[in-house]
């Protein structure tokens, strides 16, 4: 097993730089998730760690070894792809053993490793089938099995659950978490799904446009986002962002929400007239009168999921507000409701997105 260190890593395609000097360390046995919107460079970063993409600058170490120029097969990594990448003309057993056979591994050891991986992933009955005869979840299990038989120091997962339906995704998420606790191997997992990131990761690396925005434990990112991007990306539904204008003395006016006012400690340093963005998570609204700033909402869409309800409101004023409310089961589109923002739950950001503490 081994940790991974990425120092000042850059990636350029011709004159275009897509990864701009990324730094972080992953401890031995840690489960780290790279998360970010499409095109942020998370898969490129993973492929650079795997050795499938050359790096244009910086250094990548696995364990104590710099692997910049090491062949992908000698890095001690195994990768699981979004498309499963199973060899369609081989059976499951042949898929699992292919790499070992091609590298001249003794047949008895290969057989033992395949049997062990099949046992861990509960795919023994599938060993003689071809990939086309497997369901999506079974294919993904085989893909993970192919990684396991290599006994890698680091597992790399590139959006492995994206092609599965919602129910299977939850199931496989649990399987992968179980696998991590069973094997204790370092795992790096790429996803654009922040629910996967929050539920599986020891730490999350949030990426945007080839830069690391924040690294931390899932709840740290949720509670203390360093900027508006992270605040918006972590949490589902995403945080509400309301335009705010300082009135001086720590008080803010919300011009798009009927001119409601709120006092925030984070707004103390703002001069009167200065613009800012107030953030409030959908689940943090209080009942009207119980917070520090009441908002009057015209509901556009109400989603009742049973355990909770989501109200999508104020779309017409150009600044939509989403409210998560377990107790508002009777609200419907067209209704008007009042909710309140508790100052202690509100976040304040500069217009450039930086958090004001």
């Amino acid at each position: 097993m081994a940790g991974v260190t990425v120092s000042a890593v850059r990636k350029r395609y011709g004159s275009v730089e897509t990864i701009h000097g990324v730094d972080f360390s992953i401890a031995d046995g840690e489960f780290v998730v790279f998360v970010g919107p499409s095109g942020c460079g998370k898969s490129t970063l993973l492929r650079m760690i795997a050795g499938l993409e050359d790096i244009s600058g910086g250094e990548i170490s696995i364990g104590s070894r710099v692997v910049n120029d090491v062949d992908p097969s000698d890095r001690g990594t195994a990768m699981v792809f979004q498309s499963y990448a199973l060899y369609p003309h081989m059976t499951v057993a042949q898929n699992l053993s292919f790499g070992l056979r091609m590298n001249g591994n003794p047949a008895a050891d290969t057989e033992r490793r395949v049997a062990e991986a099949a046992r861990i992933l509960r795919i023994e009955p599938l060993l003689d089938r071809r990939p086309k005869a497997l369901s999506g979840g079974q294919r993904q299990r085989v893909a993970i099995g192919r990684a396991i038989v290599r006994k890698p120091e680091v597992f790399l997962f590139d959006e492995p659950l994206s092609n599965l339906d919602a129910e299977l995704r939850v199931q496989m998420r649990i399987e992968i978490a179980r696998l991590h606790s069973e094997l204790g191997t370092t795992m790096i997992y790429v996803t654009h799904d922040q629910t996967e990131a929050m539920t599986m990761a020891d730490r999350i690396v949030v990426l945007r446009a080839g830069r690391v925005e924040q690294i931390g434990a899932p709840l740290d990112l949720y509670d203390n986002p360093v900027n508006q991007f992270v605040a918006g990306f972590i949490g589902s539904p995403r945080m509400n962002f309301l335009a705010a204008e300082s009135l001086g003395g720590g008080r803010l006016k919300l011009p798009n929400q009927g001119g409601a006012e709120i006092g925030l400690a984070a707004a103390q340093g703002l001069a009167a007239g200065q613009k800012a963005v107030l953030g409030i998570r959908p689940e943090h609204f209080a009942a009207a009168g119980q917070g520090n700033c009441d908002l009057h909402l015209a509901i556009d869409v109400a989603e009742h999921l049973g355990a909770t309800s989501y109200l999508y409101a104020n779309t017409k004023v150009g600044e939509p507000v989403v409210v998560q409310a377990a107790a508002v089961r009777s609200a419907h589109a067209g209704d008007r409701v009042a909710v309140s923002i508790p100052a202690a739950r509100a976040y304040l950001f500069d217009p450039n997105g930086a958090r004001r503490a």
């Binding site: 795997a50 499938l52 992908p72 097969s73 498309s83 990448a85 060899y87 292919f98 790499g99 091609m102």
Partner: protein, 278 residues
């Protein structure tokens, strides 16, 4: 209102009503070739046209063999077609693989040059090729001259490049991470997945070699190295044309291709439609 299945039935009837006679028109010359191959020389031009086979095939074949040494020329044709097909499939698939798999300086130029040769008419190439092989290298009437020059086939490279480029890149990435050598990725992963295209390409290349007339005519004039189509060509003389022998030879030349096509047509269709849709 007529049901959907009845409309489908009448549409099928209409299609068959048009396509059936067209197929007969197309098959008629082939049928007559087979019929003529069984008739005596003087019967072919008799005013009463015979539409059914006669019993002279074996006699016609003996005459053909006596005039051209046809079995030897058939052997040369088979050898040339088989060896050149195998070698050409190997070369073109390796070239296609290189164009898909590797990034190298000048790749776009190399690709353009290879495919640019497709725009050159064969007749522009054949004379300098003949001068080079026959005069400069002195290789007339050799297996090398018959087999090697036509090997480098840009259509084959295009075929294989297309087949490989449609395979998910992750398959090769996965193999690479597993420590599978590049040659093994090519032979154990890429080629087995390209089987339909390989089969279609093999048929096309075999056909092209089997039917090739001009190059073998120029480069192999000695009877021992003559191919079957060239041998049939020698039966068309200034004063006399041996039609019965020609038709017999033509039947013998056509038969293997019909058999090959019947057995491999599913690969052939899969191959030529490869890349048409996602």
């Amino acid at each position: 209102m007529r049901s959907k299945s009845s409309r489908r039935f009448w549409r099928q009837v209409a299609i068959h009503a048009v396509m059936g006679p067209l197929a007969l028109v197309w098959l008629f010359p082939l049928w007559m070739m087979a019929v003529f191959s069984t008739m005596p020389e003087n019967g072919i031009f008799s005013p009463d046209i015979e539409l059914l086979p006669s019993d002279q095939f074996w006699i016609n074949f003996q005459a053909l063999q006596a005039e051209t040494g046809f079995l030897r020329t058939l052997f040369v044709s088979v050898m040339v077609a088989l060896v050149s097909t195998v070698l050409s499939v190997m070369l073109t698939s390796m070239a296609g693989w290189a164009l898909v798999r590797y990034r190298f300086r000048g790749k776009a130029l190399v690709t353009a040059l290879i495919f640019g040769t497709m725009t050159l008419p064969y007749f522009v190439v054949v004379v300098p090729q003949f001068i080079m092989v026959a005069r400069d290298l002195g290789l007339s009437n050799t297996w090398f001259a018959l087999i090697v020059p036509p090997l480098f086939n840009s259509l084959g490279v295009l075929f294989m490049r297309q087949a490989f480029s449609m395979m998910p890149r992750e398959l090769f990435d996965a193999a690479q991470i597993e420590g599978v050598k590049e040659w093994q990725i090519f032979t154990r992963v890429a080629l087995p997945l390209a089987k339909p295209t390989l089969a279609a390409l093999a048929i096309i290349l075999f056909l092209a070699s089997w039917n090739n007339y001009l190059w073998p005519l120029l480069i192999a004039s000695e009877p021992t190295m003559m191919t079957a189509p060239v041998a049939l060509g020698t039966l068309i003389g200034v004063n006399r044309v041996s039609w019965a022998s020609i038709m017999t030879g033509a039947v013998l030349l056509t038969l293997p291709m019909v058999i090959v096509f019947i057995f491999l047509q599913r690969f052939f269709m899969a191959g030529i439609t490869t890349g048409a849709v996602k």
